[in-house]
Symmetry: C3
Subunit: 381 residues, 3 copies
């Protein structure tokens, strides 16, 4: 799920270090990786510099997310179609998952839920809108396979609805008995994991032709050798975990200093940072007039958050963190998720895109961001 | 609206009894009819065996619904196109109507409303989802006429919205003056009946080519002679009424024993039982790769509940039962109906189906069922 | 945006008066203009005759709206494509804007908000539904360009969502801090104006081929000379302002006498009166089997209310009227706007129309009207 814009012929690297150097040359974004040791050191030296730690950890996660995405792909490419597809599909949102796990362990459930909701909204409104805008500024009118897009959009709609049922029912019925909500969330999480597993069977085995296989083969870019990929995957996941812990530890105080609500941080900041690598892919696919791929990345990633990341976090919360977490979102998040999913459905329904459709989607995203920014702190609980 | 899976050449029956015997041979489900006398006798003998009466009456309604559907069709086939179409359209949900009337008479308004809401949700999510799954397991990718499907889906959306207006407005405005809600429901019921009548004019006269005429003529199955059909229609309706009364009389105590809320019973059990005959038709059409017919049955039946069954029940409630009934649904039911209708719109919008789309729709249905099952009893009032 | 149904060859008028006379002959509706001096005089003579003043002002606005629409077009036609398109797009809802400004000045914020919400709902359900019905009674099945319609519908959906965010968030979160809502509305208004300006760039410059240019050139109807157009534009705007002031001054007492709630007056009466000219155009285009134009007028006008009229009113409220106005709608209005926009999306999604689709949309509109009519006065505040 990545698509760095490389130029020229990349000489086949001979070693892990050679591969890494070649990679850096092609992707200037990776230079941000210097902030990883900086933030880890700073946390040892002055753990009270919350605002600085927060900002540095945000910057440090971006290149790690890009490397993670690249490594997942490399491992996937080498392990054969079935296992590879499985890995790619499962680890596609690994960054979001690791950040959320760190927040879960710290008992910051609002941050966890905000980042789930934010990832769905960001993937649909911001990633899809941005792809339409970026693509539309270069191409007058872009057509894409509307049948596949519609099919994926309807799956996304059902997935979003599924994780919203506890919120819809309890909120609306004003009978939010905690025990009922928790029981329902657990049953739901198990059901969603099963649906997700069936979805992989569907997209990787029975109906793989429907899903644009990311199509990186077309680009003259050699995947890393398997050992490089595996090592990078493990090391970078650990680094993301470390930086995420610093991020989660500093976010509350820092957000207060910077005048941001926790809802805004989870919804907008975590979602943008965690999805940076996929956004790069989706945007450069749009510029290359391959909007099918952009739509597929955006809708697929959003559906994965709903069907895989969210239920995994519920299940893990039984073993990690102070108390089990429910799938009860605050009402504003429910409204935003529903609206974003419907907007994604409508935008992908047309089968054609122009820059203004992107502007509209980004405007709605900006309005959501503005709302969360202005929201009196402590409003969603 | 039925489509038993017969095999071999059905010899033309010579009498009503012969027809009945031939029917039984082709449809093993009809054997369940033995439970009809059993449940009626049991109710005389031990009227306090609520749980057993409840279970037996549920089982007994299934074959009656199938017979009713078959008889309606037979009468419709023999009375000419206009009257026949009218009969078929009006009596298509006769089982649901008779059960709801029994509940209305007993003053169990929550059960009535739950069965209206449940029928809409079941017809869209369960019937459509099941058809997609059953069809998809046999056929890789099924295409259907998306223009007709979309047209019917937009009619269903408007019909659902129409019956939800009183709930949407009063709930949301938190000013549920009972008098206002009752007045509005009455006006609404009259308007809906008019819209329904115009809809029959539309689908049976001016634009009949848009609506897949169930197409049973293609099957080599002789409809019953008119007298047989008429007699069966009358007798079976009376039987359904008798069994429904037993069902309604036993449901509350039995549901408590079985740990089910009245909302769950109305929403899931009544809807599945009442729609069993149509589901058989929709599923076997899907297996025969005639998904157009499946979609038409599912969407048409859901629209009929909203435009005909619901307003008739409101109007009848002025003459039967302790007090007039409004169209005020509890908020969870509103959310479920809206979501189900939108899901149906999206699923039929694509114009193509595969097994996973069915899994997703059934998963959302399962989540709704789980929610209603776990709901603390008495929550929706 | 107008389309009077003329017959025969219209001789080119030689003067402003000649033009006016020719116009009157072709458009009998304009005869209602005699009520303009009548209502202005009556208000001087007996300012307490509220009910009569209300009724006369409603009747007087209809021909003024028609003239305004015609004059805007005349000026637009003579000032070249860019400025002309700009004028046409900006002044398309001038009548609604002037009425709302009069209500704003009088501090009647409920009336202002009801007329914004009502204009969106009326343009989608009533105008689109009416066009489908009127067109469908003449033509069996009407096809229209579904790709353009879908594109416009998705823009309308995003525009509606945008103005609803403050309502959705605050209502649902039950934390309607007035300051937060006001700040958000101001930021939103500025953002929407920018999006609207970009939308004009899009529809008038970069992608004008997507938008059915009203196509009046095809009709043998000479636009007025520029001076005539300009004079009529200015004079009629002043007259609309005068009559609107009388309307706003009389509406509250009159509504009470006539048994109508202020919500009903703003939502239904103002919206129907203010949009009369555009409706005439949309309906006669539908009868001429040019449903593309009807859909374009209806969806475009609704989007303009959301993206231009609503934010302008928020900004103007800082200079005019007792206090700044927020974009906080009462929940029933939010539900109606969302439903109407979704219905418009579904109806235009199909790409084909028949009379019954129009009946359904009009039925939902009638149900909304009935609800607002029956609503206990003072319910929405």
């Amino acid at each position: 799920m990545h698509n760095f814009e490389e130029r020229g012929a990349a000489a086949p690297p001979r070693s892990a270090i050679g591969a890494a150097i070649a990679e850096f040359r092609r992707t200037p974004l990776l230079a941000l990786i210097v902030f990883v040791p900086v933030v880890i050191l700073l946390e040892r030296v002055s753990p009270e510099a919350h605002t600085l730690l927060f900002l540095l950890s945000v910057v440090a996660i971006v290149p790690l997310a890009a490397l993670l995405s690249r490594a997942t792909e490399a491992v996937a490419a080498k392990t054969g179609d079935a296992v590879g597809g499985l890995l790619n599909a499962t680890l596609g949102n690994l960054t979001e998952l690791v950040i959320s796990l760190a927040a879960l362990q710290a008992g910051q459930y609002l941050l966890v839920k905000a980042s789930i909701a934010g990832a769905i909204v960001t993937n649909t409104l911001f990633m899809l809108g941005g792809a339409f805008l970026v693509g539309g500024l270069k191409h007058h009118l872009q057509e894409f396979n509307r049948v596949n897009a519609r099919f994926q959009a309807s799956l996304l709609f059902l997935a979003t609805i599924a994780i919203l049922v506890p919120s819809l029912i309890s909120e609306v019925d004003r009978a939010p008995a905690a025990a009922f909500s928790q029981q329902l969330s657990l049953g739901l999480a198990i059901l969603l994991i099963i649906v997700y597993a069936l979805g992989m069977l569907f997209s990787l085995r029975t109906h793989r032709e429907l899903f644009a296989s990311s199509g990186h083969a077309e680009e003259e870019e050699k995947p890393w050798p398997l050992p490089v990929g595996t090592v990078v995957l493990i090391v970078v996941t650990l680094l993301v975990a470390m930086v995420s812990e610093i991020f989660v530890g500093s976010v509350q105080v820092a957000a207060q200093h910077l005048g941001m609500t926790p809802a805004f941080v989870g919804f907008i900041v975590v979602a943008l940072v965690g999805g940076a690598a996929e956004m790069t892919s989706a945007f450069s696919a749009a510029r290359a007039n391959r909007l099918d791929l952009s739509v597929s990345i955006a809708l697929g990633s959003a559906a994965q958050i709903a069907l895989f990341v969210a239920p995994v976090l519920v299940l893990v919360s039984y073993f990690v963190g102070p108390a089990p977490m429910s799938l009860q979102f605050w009402p504003g998040a429910v409204a935003m998720m529903l609206v974003a999913t419907m907007a994604a459905t409508l935008l992908s329904n047309g089968g054609r895109a122009a820059w203004y459709a992107g502007v509209m989607a980004l405007a709605v995203y900006a309005i959501f961001g503005l709302t969360l920014f202005l929201l009196p702190p402590g409003a969603p609980s």
